[in-house]
């Protein structure tokens, strides 16, 4: 198990992207400290000091870690007060995080196999770091990213560094029109699918994987209080009963879930 750290971080960059998304880049306040290793699929819990209405920490996936520059990237969508306060952080503001939390995506053995990383909306976030980790292990992953419209597309150039990028938009303004589950890429033989996004999308992806006997892992986003397995608030019903999404997950093999798909 990777040690969990409570870290004070400093804002290196906070870029407003399209559609209420922003990319927050952080580094340890103590610049002599290098970011400890984290696995793909893990997340952080951020204390949002600047929002008086935000009492609990906010869980956010690791979007990318640039170990060369000692930077942690978070891709965040403005939803409510907590994420809005984060979007307003300025360069050199500080914030406290717990890092890294949760389990990680399971990486397959054979490097020739076709791996498809399906992200929808802000759920594309963990796919970038997963893509990088896979790329460094010698895989060429296929990213299948779904957005509502071309103006929502984020981090395209980053994804391209680590694999082939396939896009769907609901309005057809870029890539293939429709949902990710309609994309032609899925007609090819696939060894494993990794997915993160809105629950209806993940369920559709899981259903497709199940029907086609493709191994599939999903990243769940149940609401959390602690983020490290002590409050039992974030449970998902699985074949083994209630388990914590924050510590036994957030990554689950669909075989373990009790979704009606």
């Amino acid at each position: 198990m990777i040690k969990k750290n409570v870290l004070d971080m400093i804002v290196i960059d906070n870029q407003e992207l399209s559609n209420n998304y922003f990319l927050l880049k952080l580094a340890p306040v103590d610049s002599s400290q290098s970011l400890p290793y984290a696995e793909a699929g893990q997340f952080v819990e951020i204390r949002v000091d600047k929002s008086p209405t935000t009492f609990l920490r906010r869980p956010i996936s690791i979007n990318f870690i640039d170990f060369d520059n000692n930077e942690l990237w978070l891709l965040i969508q403005k939803i409510g007060d907590g994420t809005k306060a984060l979007s307003q952080l300025k360069i050199s503001d500080t914030l406290n995080i717990i890092y890294p939390l949760g389990n990680s995506f399971g990486l397959p053995e054979a490097q020739k196999s076709k791996l498809v990383l399906v992200g929808g909306g802000v759920g594309v976030a963990p796919m970038l770091y997963l893509g990088k980790v896979l790329f460094e292990k010698g895989y060429t992953p296929d990213f299948l990213l779904g957005f509502r419209s071309s103006s929502d597309i984020v981090l395209m150039d980053e994804f391209k560094k680590y694999g082939n990028v396939h896009i769907t938009t609901e309005d057809g303004s870029f890539g293939e029109k429709g949902y990710v589950t309609n994309h032609s890429l899925l007609n090819e033989p696939i060894q494993k699918i990794f997915t993160c996004g809105p629950k209806p999308m993940m369920m559709a992806v899981a259903k497709y994987a199940k029907e086609n006997s493709i191994e599939c892992e999903v990243s769940l986003e149940n609401t959390m209080a602690c983020g490290f397995g002590v409050c039992l608030c974030c449970v998902e019903k699985t074949t083994e009963g209630h388990v914590c999404v924050c510590s036994d997950g957030p990554i689950f093999n669909i075989e373990k879930l009790t979704w009606q798909i």
């Binding site: 009492f55 609401t223 602690c226």
Partner: protein, 303 residues
């Protein structure tokens, strides 16, 4: 460096800082964050005779300066605790206290008997105040007669330190505290969570699967403090105070209101290192105030 030691009946604590049951797992989950041995002790999560799956998700709603939970005592049962967790607890010098829950007197007694056999567990906290289970739980803690019955039954089989955890969801908490004292409790801890509710206006649905749940966190502090003070004045046994303690100053306020020890709950989620910070903060306060021992400020409210 002031003397931080306090005593809850036979239970001797290095300092008055404990953790609240259900917010600290089994303790070892915090070992990446803090040195567990620096705590006076820690309350492990609610343990029942049999395995419990708890309530369906969603179980949590954030509220102004607090949160509602409806976990419903999910735990793997007392035998699991004895086999898998007790050996881990035994590695720490800090005292583990087991929070015993149940839905009928026989279950409380059977669960307690099993814990009583464990050498290194010097105390139990009897939870007669859980708002999140259908049967038992809080029902025992909201009527003096049933509180007295369950405490008396457990007292018969438990010779070590017996702490009874009280529910704030009553008209007069001192009445229940006195009933527990009369039935042989060595200490009372308060408060458990306050019954509350959260609604999503857009969907018109309750946020919690159980509709209602237990409120904790900073929001409950004034109520908890008031109840600790009232209880301190009406019983002779030591009072353990909790509810909304977020920092050392909050903890000191509870000590002044009459608590011999305090528990930190929801604050652990926001700062997993808060417990040791509170230990240090109490110590600094005592030095600043020129006190040699923490016992000098317990109940030291100046009226």
């Amino acid at each position: 460096m002031a003397d931080l030691r306090v005593e809850i009946n036979k239970l001797k604590l290095d300092n008055p800082v404990l953790t609240a049951s259900g917010t600290f797992g089994y303790g070892h989950e915090f070992s990446d964050y803090i040195d567990l041995n620096r705590l006076g002790g820690y309350l492990v999560k609610g343990t029942t005779l049999h395995h419990r799956e708890g309530n369906p998700y969603p179980r949590m709603a954030e509220t102004p300066s607090g949160m509602l939970n409806a976990v419903g005592l999910q735990n793997k049962g007392v035998d699991y605790f004895i086999e898998n967790i007790y050996p881990i607890c035994s590695q720490y010098s800090s005292k583990a206290i087991v929070n015993v829950s149940g839905s009928c007197i026989d279950d409380y007694v059977a669960c307690t008997e099993k814990i009583a056999a464990l050498d290194k567990i010097e105390a139990i906290e009897l939870n007669i105040s859980c708002p999140n289970v259908k049967q038992g739980g809080m029902a025992f803690g909201t009527c003096p007669k049933s509180a007295e019955d369950v405490v008396a039954a457990v007292r018969k089989v438990y010779p070590k330190t017996l702490i009874v955890k009280l529910s704030p969801n009553v008209t007069d908490i001192t009445e229940i505290a006195r009933a527990a004292e009369a039935a042989g409790a060595d200490s009372v801890s308060l408060i458990n969570t306050l019954l509350g509710m959260a609604v999503n206006a857009e969907t018109r649905k309750p946020i919690l699967s159980t509709v209602t749940g237990g409120l904790s966190g900073a929001a409950v502090k004034p109520i908890a403090l008031r109840m600790v003070w009232q209880t301190y004045k009406s019983v002779k046994i030591p009072v353990i105070g909790l509810g909304g303690i977020m920092n050392a100053t909050d903890a000191i306020e509870f000590l002044l209101a009459g608590a011999t020890a305090i528990q930190i709950g929801t604050a652990n989620f926001i700062d997993p290192q808060i417990t040791v910070k509170v230990v240090d903060g109490i110590n600094e306060y005592l030095d600043r105030q020129g006190c040699k021992s923490v016992n000098e400020i317990i109940g030291g409210l100046i009226l």
